[in-house]
């Protein structure tokens, strides 16, 4: 009898959790349609991603929350002062990575202002996988309505204003692996800068969880010990 309440509570809890997780799982993969790539935060990948970002993306996009100083300060990126100085030219260390393209010019050329990419992987369902899919998603419109270069299989509505940044559409097969790696690297890089303390957070988290397991275990022993007094 005593257990019934607990059981029913547990049942509705589990049911609730399952109900809640179902759409989350689905939305996490963008309706299951996105390509999957391996997002990694090793130094090589992140540096390659940074290069793709500064050489390609920064033509139009900014990442204003990532400052030149951050490139040195985040150990995962770990650029040297000389490398940063070369990259920034006459920009200040505390300035963000901002594109030369003015919003007015962008609007004139592409019809809208390209979004800032600082937190882009957090602002799109699918995160890094979404960016990867987008970069490798330029195709011919099967219905022939959207001109080549503006049709993207993974963009909502398929008509994308961004011209094929990695020149994926017309690449020949020998380049496929290289372009996929570039897309993977820049997706990893953007995922990293979206939450630059995530690795540190997880490192600390492991210690915290370990400590809490110990604390909870001791509290459980103590509770059992103290409650020996209570006769039911």
């Amino acid at each position: 009898m005593k257990e019934v309440m607990m059981k029913s509570m547990r049942l509705s809890l589990i049911a609730g959790l399952l109900l809640m997780l179902a759409p989350a799982m689905a939305s996490a993969s963008g309706g299951g349609a996105l390509k999957h790539t391996e997002i990694t935060f090793d130094n090589e990948t992140l540096r390659k991603g940074l290069t793709v970002f500064t050489d390609v993306c920064m033509g139009c996009h900014a990442a204003k929350y990532l400052t030149y100083r951050n490139l040195m300060a985040y150990p995962e990126l770990g650029l040297s002062r000389e490398e940063v100085d070369e990259l920034r030219g006459d920009k200040g260390l505390l300035e963000g990575l901002i594109t030369e393209l003015s919003p007015e010019d962008a609007t004139e050329s592409y019809g809208k202002v390209p979004p800032d990419l600082s937190v882009i992987t957090r602002a799109r369902r699918g995160g890094g996988n979404y960016i990867y899919s987008l970069l490798t998603g330029y195709e011919s419109d099967p219905h022939g309505k959207v001109e080549d270069g503006n049709y993207n299989a993974y963009y909502p509505g398929n008509r994308i204003a961004m011209p094929d940044p990695l020149a994926w559409f017309e690449h020949d097969e020998s380049e496929t692996a290289d372009l996929e790696e570039q897309a993977r690297a820049v997706s990893s890089f953007l995922t990293f800068i979206g939450d630059p303390h995530q690795l540190e957070r997880q490192r600390i988290g492991i210690w915290v969880m370990g400590f809490l397991v110990l604390l909870t275990f001791v509290l459980w022993l103590l509770k059992r010990e103290v409650w020996k007094d209570v006769k039911h």
Partner: protein
């Protein structure tokens, strides 16, 4: 109820739980207290560049460094002369009292007295070492320009309006002032002939 063995076990568990709880509380306090220290970008913004050639001879300019005011004075030959000859009136004529009043480049007596890399360009933190007000620049000697706000034998320097501290033209504190130390010098170096990097 409980026997003695039980009691020692119980006490041990109390102490263990209490100890771990204290560790948890202490560890939790670290990020909160830590967050109140200057942020990464604030720390990085702690350097200031300034072109001292923009300061006219005999003039004082107040600039900002780490959000604090800094005096940059272009001292005339006459002002440099008036730095000397009153060491007996100063608390710390050779700027030796604490680290903050000296700098690596103060390797000769001359530099300790002028308190500047280039003698004519004096750069010091503009906060009175008493309680942090900004002293008033009273560069001419005697009482002619300043009335009795300065002593009779005034050789020129600074007068703090808050609590009446006096400094000479090398920003050294004068005896009888409530301020304990000379005005502080911050680390700086010349990047070019006229541009200093402060911090």
């Amino acid at each position: 109820m409980t026997d003695k063995a039980d009691h020692s076990r119980r006490n041990f568990l109390y102490v263990a739980a209490g100890g771990l709880g204290a560790v948890a509380a202490g560890a939790t306090a670290v990020p909160f207290v830590g967050s109140m220290f200057p942020a990464a970008d604030t720390l990085a913004a702690s350097k200031t560049e300034y072109d001292v050639s923009t300061v006219v001879e005999g003039q004082l300019v107040v600039i900002q460094w780490q959000g604090k005011p800094v005096f940059v004075v272009n001292r005339t030959a006459d002002m440099l002369n008036r730095v000397k000859g009153h060491d007996d009136l100063l608390k710390d004529p050779m700027s030796q009292a604490i680290d903050a009043v000296q700098a690596e480049w103060m390797d000769t007596d001359e530099k300790r007295i002028y308190r500047a890399i280039k003698p004519e360009i004096l750069i010091v933190v503009a906060s009175c070492t008493h309680l942090g007000c900004i002293p008033l620049f009273k560069p001419t000697s005697g009482r002619e320009d300043w009335g009795d706000s300065v002593p009779e034998n005034w050789a020129g320097g600074w007068h703090c309006p808050c609590h009446g501290s006096f400094y000479d033209l090398s920003a050294r504190v004068v005896n009888g002032s409530p301020a304990p130390q000379n005005l502080h010098v911050m680390p700086y170096k010349y990047k070019t002939d006229s541009v200093v990097l402060i911090g």
